[in-house]
Assembly symmetry: C2
Homo-oligomer: 268 residues x 2
């Protein structure tokens, strides 16, 4: 099936998911939409996140997507069930794949989760983890400074290292913790600092990589994978500055991103 896969995020964070989708599913075409102008979603109330996400989905549905990937943890926490009910195409979020990967990897059964305030308050990760497995010790922590850091483009700086180090202090107290879920798709851009702060013994789970595999599994199960007759021509849209989006995208992606289009979302 030659229709594209739609990917939405509150900003550039979902590019970590898109990058993995391109790497693991090189035949599939993507349409990416980042809501940079209203980013971050993390501190917003649920109603607002639902409304913003629905507006983004309406834009992508008009592009005839065959599958929707909610590449934003906050939006997944607040809208996954609702969108699965509402849409006829498969909808994949980033929370379950991250939870499953953590359960596979942990040996001590002590799992850390970091995310935005919205994601952490929603308790979506502890719920997903407990629904699948039992006897887990889960330590979660909101890191509200991380998304603005990434969206500003300063994620490689020494200042970023300091912010990460200080933010993760409370988690480092739990010595038995051997697995940390990056419960926000912006956070993989800070992986080096996060790994350094937590120590080499902690496995870092990037929901992006995990989600790409589940997208592949569900497409194969639903028989909607692309037949691969042409080279995909990915499209990128943002509600914010296309220049900043392009700069971050080209530092992060292996695919040259040079035609980012700015759009105005229809307010419902």
């Amino acid at each position: 099936m030659d229709r594209p896969i739609g990917v939405i995020d509150s900003g550039v964070g979902g590019l970590t998911v898109a990058r993995e989708l391109m790497r693991q599913l090189p035949k599939e075409q993507l349409i990416y939409l980042g809501d940079t102008v209203r980013c971050p979603y993390g501190p917003r109330p649920k109603e607002e996140v639902v409304r913003f996400t629905t507006e983004m989905v309406t834009f992508l549905m008009e592009k005839q997507i065959k599958m929707l990937v909610i590449a934003c943890n906050t939006a997944t926490a607040f809208t996954l069930d609702y969108l699965r009910e509402k849409l006829t195409i498969p909808v994949i979020g980033v929370i379950d794949p991250g939870a499953r990967a953590a359960i596979k990897v942990t040996e001590t059964k002590a799992i850390g989760v970091i995310g935005t305030e919205g994601t952490i308050k929603s308790q979506a990760y502890p719920e997903a983890l407990k629904q699948i497995s039992a006897g887990l010790n889960i330590y979660d922590l909101a890191c509200p400074q991380f998304v603005p850091l990434v969206e500003s483009g300063h994620f490689s700086s020494e200042a970023a290292e300091q912010v990460v180090e200080t933010s993760l202090e409370p988690l480092k107290r739990h010595k038995e913790l051997d697995t940390l879920i990056l419960g926000c798709t912006h956070y993989p851009l800070l992986t080096d600092w996060i790994q350094k702060a937590m120590g080499e013994h902690v496995s870092i789970i990037s929901s992006g990589e995990e989600t790409a595999r589940e997208v592949s599994a569900i497409m194969s199960y639903q028989k909607i994978a692309c037949d691969g007759k042409r080279i995909p021509d990915h499209q990128f849209y943002t509600t914010g500055s296309p220049i900043l989006f392009e700069q971050i995208a080209n530092r992060w992606m292996d695919y040259p991103v040079n035609t980012v289009e700015q759009i105005v979302i229809d307010q419902t």
Copy 2:
């Protein structure tokens, strides 16, 4: 949903998948059926593998399973599409999950696949890999001695090390190979020898571990996961010797396997 997950294999190899299902999905109940008396499936013609597998599935369908896991690569290669058409419950094989995991892991894009003669001749892995990705170099190799070695229970012996070492010689010539798919669920019982023979730089992909995650993903997607109100009481059946089955199962599984029931399969 409290109905069990059915798992079939030509013998004890599928226990490597069952073990991972128990570890990653501790709330789900399993019914395992190993066709030990007719093992190995690897050298048999397709028609025979289809007939044997269908007979096993009929037995499990009477047990009201909610999902079928074909924990045998040969049976997956020959019957997955057919069973997906025929059954109304979800059917998961071990080939796609293994292929997806290898694509995620490889950096050199040079992937090895070892399996039974049937699996290797079917070209199911190269096809699955190429359907998902492009530009891969795939080196496959039939290892017909491995399954009898495992079913005999002598998989930890020095003789086993020697057999593995010699069998894998042809693959070791491909220096760029960085990922090896164990394309047979019996082979994880030989992992230590396989890793030693191939070298530490080669990532070994066990289809069992990978399949367990896809089972979890499809169950969540289909909303048929167990609600976890009771402790699962797994059932094990074999068409061969229950004593040998029990011995191997208890060396391999974390779950005590002490009530293996021998059954006679209705020949269709």
